[in-house]
Symmetry: D2
Subunit: 343 residues, 4 copies
């Protein structure tokens, strides 16, 4: 078993990490960190547990440490990070200098030339950047990032369509409140309402997508040259980001060819990887957040409503934003790192 | 005062008609019709009143008649229709043959060559089709339609941008449940959920928009040749359709030019017409359905989030779907008919 | 394995039966019935599957029959019924005459003197009424009922407190929309709203509770003589009925004695019976519907907020209304029937 | 016109004060205060306006001052306070020493012997305590409080029933999120959920009710000796507290006598006082928060579902928690003070 830790273990994504690592076949949770205030408390007391499955007994009794390399046992080989990006910017480098491998969900550094931004089924070869990273930074450890929750929902579908020559993407999102963290959206903001703006989200979708779909070159990633325009909305759902995607491609595939491309999207042979990666719905009113966010245990991408239009292809896509879109993505990246011998 | 009636007065849109006509400066409600079952009842008993302002006392005591030209007093000059389209298809022609002028919110016949589909501020000249209609059909009356609620939300903004050469539109909607009528969306379908499909809605947006933006020619309307692709979603809001619009134009206007174009959209000098027609928000997180659907007493269009993108312009638009998008639209069309001498 | 069937298998509760019977250790699903219209279709086509776990493949391929004793195989030993009460009133006797044992969730006949209304952990001895029932009606089969979802949530807690001499109960409910069936509550009724009335529900809580807590006498059940007053509300939750209970007892137990009484509530050694039956929360803001409805796989009762007041005891109680409160209750009753040799 | 000010004018209740004072026949808004950070800003910039009617232009341009007696003009005669109770405890006495009359919605000091806790229609004579207060404290000003939003919803109905000899009250509340302030309840807490606990709320209902229904004696108020037990729940509504009330009285009134008692509840001849005070609904499923919270412009009490039970009377009651339950209550108390010559 590989011993792992969670940086920022008490927050909403931190709790998801604990849930997903409970009973994991290859990872054994050995360290949970949080802010100074919580250091010394039991995890049960430090985390106000809000996941709908019970808190695992052994984790509940673990002692929370501060988020400091000196406080994490040396035999921990892999750290998952769900720190706020401001904190991560400061703390992650400290752990990397201390030699830890960090699979991070935090939004800082995702676009850095020498930081792999990875979805295992899409661009596992981007891990090669770790060599560049170590050369550049003199780290013993390694930093790998997963993309933003709204990006990761869409990119597997875009990757499947790139065989037709991806040129232009317009996307509108209907995002769940859990994406903003436990206190990110107040009830006064969202009951009988929707908010047509999520700070920074549109830019993340536009940039991260192009990096993910790019290819590794001499000095980093050559970004894909498709244009991506996003409009991001918050709605009153707990979990599950739903997105309407309009795609223009060089070729003019039929609906059947598009569906077949989605179904043929490659899976990975890793413990948390779903098979199939993309689940295609025939009913035009699916996927729906509450009904379909747990497809593939929350790790698959659900697609439906495929149509052809005057200008290209149109479809809807959904994934679970705190599983495939956050904690599950980092765990899967950790599994990829283990599988490819980086631990 | 012009005496008016409501066909289908007891449903959700019918109740809105009653509310909007209460205290109207030019129209006096003189007839309310419903299905055979309700004929002979008081309006209070026939309508299960669900609007949050009180039922007007005088309407409450009116006797409901069946939806039959023989049952409506002859001195009624104008009828508003919110019948289900199946019923409207049968009944509206009966009233037209009997000489009534009908301002209808029902979706049938909207695309017919000789039926004016009108937003008074956008294409009042389409009323000229009434002459063609009378020639074709031998009616004494006249039939005029307002567009679908999701179409009417977007088209005033598109019209304002046509000065830049409108070429292509992608639009995603976040539509309120009232758009489906009182029982159209169950609570099991929408709590903690969204539905990425509304039957027929996408096609309505694509076709009605192009007819509205077209110009009256010899044999009807020459539709605008912009391409429109829509993706329609139902979310858990009571009233107010929010839409993300991506527009490509020949020219490349700046954000300020776009905002100025919206602010300069012409108003009409009619009792229910808002001034300004389009309200432009500066805050990027506005307009929002619950906060902004009552802008201009529910008759204005709210716009925000204007951005320029690689491929054009992006913005959000909102209107109240059962006021500007349904009953209010028909009332406003009625006011236009009166003003232009068609009654 | 005991072969079982579901009467009314395509509705909301019917789908829960299918979900709960999938992989059941003792029951094998061998028949699914629905209305005449669906007879001959596959279950996949007849049921619009709306449960968030996938439809079991083998059930999906089963052929739906009409709800008629001649259409159900003779080797089926036990039928679960979730028919609307009007239909159940007619059809259930036909199955009973044909010799089937029926564990029914339908509300008809629950108060009949010779029909056992049973919660296995509370009043398993009421099964003795089956002998009376057979004598009275000449049936080879047997009819057993589980109580209404709001009643079954409260009664285990009341039973635990009866050692202190239960005298008077006031209860207010906050009930989930699934309790009304898939289309029972429209979205217009419940978004940003609550409805302080559920037809017939208050009476069910007042009468069923007293029968369940009663003892079997010569001629049926001697009802408990506590008074029960209920006020029932519908709120915007999908699943999970939350109830505020005020209880007056002869004795004056302390908070600790009340909690201990709840914790000591007896479990049953049956496959679907939770252990413990009652889960006591210490946090005053628990149980909550979304977080706690799945306690004990949806079969346990969650209690919290225990306080003593001027007039007695006050606490909150929650259970999953379509599992413990409907399909799960019937399955558990079926397990009790099997265990006690009635099949 | 009486010149008035608002202490804490930028928060949720503060914004309601601004809305309610706009166009008030007797009060002219002359001062708006907020925390140090906002001092010097325009009200438009300091308040993130979230009320669904537009911000009044003249107030938008007012300069916010800090909440300090030296910063408020001397010719302001009456201050409305919606400060958090911690701040109010410190600041309100400073204004009282400086001679201001303060009509406060804050929860501190409500139970003090010499502080009038007033609902004008119920206990206007409690104003007499101001003399005691001035003697005790040496203030030139006067402090008057309105009760908590959940208390004020119920007490008018209880007062109407006291003619039957009020003995015991059990009440369950379904409270709107606005009662907790703009950020008081997160969306993660309340979507598809309810919370059976609101800190301190049950005690407020139990104590404030008894003080309000008490009579002024030599040394303060002799509290009513009825027992009140409350269970308070938060649900996913924006505005409007709904409450299920069970009352036991000495006499046994009929449903008609109860309804008549409610209808006969006295109104007050003050600008914001509704007439009637209590609106009685016949439909058993009313009042409902979204449909009925604006009865009497948000200042009336809506009652429905009257039943008699084994142990007494049962009914439901609703009011708008940020109008009648907060800002409107303070304004009405200010009108009472003006009418009775205390300004």
């Amino acid at each position: 078993m590989i011993r792992v830790g969670i940086l920022g273990a008490t927050g909403a994504v931190g709790q998801r990490f604990v849930q997903l690592l409970d009973g994991h076949p290859a990872f054994e949770l050995a360290a949970v960190t949080a802010s100074e205030d919580s250091a010394g408390s039991s995890y049960r007391d430090a985390a106000k547990w809000r996941v709908s499955t019970p808190i695992p007994d052994d984790v509940a009794e673990m002692t929370v440490t501060s988020t400091d390399p000196d406080e994490v046992p040396d035999d921990v080989d892999l750290l998952f990070s769900s720190l706020p990006s401001g904190a991560a910017e400061v703390v992650e480098p400290e752990f990397l200098e201390a030699g830890y491998v960090v699979s991070s969900n935090s939004s800082n550094a995702r676009l850095d030339d020498d930081v792999p931004l990875v979805i295992p089924e899409i661009n596992p070869d981007h891990l090669d950047l770790i060599e560049v990273q170590r050369d550049n930074r003199g780290w013993d450890g390694a930093l790998i990032k997963n993309p933003n929750c709204s990006t990761i929902t869409m990119v597997p579908a875009l990757a499947a369509l790139d065989q037709f020559g991806l040129e232009r993407v317009h996307v509108s999102t209907l995002q769940a409140v859990s994406g903003a963290g436990y206190s990110g959206v107040t009830s006064m903001e969202i009951i009988d309402n929707a908010i047509p703006h999520i700070g920074g989200e549109e830019e993340k979708m536009e940039t991260e997508s192009r990096k993910l779909l790019g290819s590794v070159g001499e000095d980093g990633v050559d970004w894909h040259d498709a244009s991506v325009s996003a409009s991001c909305n918050r709605i009153a759902t707990i979990d599950g980001h739903l997105e309407n995607v309009f795609v223009e491609t060089e070729a003019d595939p039929t609906i059947d060819e598009v569906a077949e491309a989605f179904r043929a999207a490659p899976s990975q042979d890793l413990p948390s990887a779903p098979d199939p990666l993309i689940h295609v719905f025939e009913d035009p009113d699916r996927p729906q957040p509450r009904l379909d966010r747990m497809v593939g245990d929350g790790m698959a991408i659900a697609v439906g409503g495929i149509q052809t239009t005057d200008s290209g292809i149109q479809f809807n896509v959904l994934s679970h934003n705190t599983i495939r879109g956050a904690a599950g993505a980092s765990v899967l990246n950790g599994e990829l790192l283990a599988d490819r011998g980086w631990l």
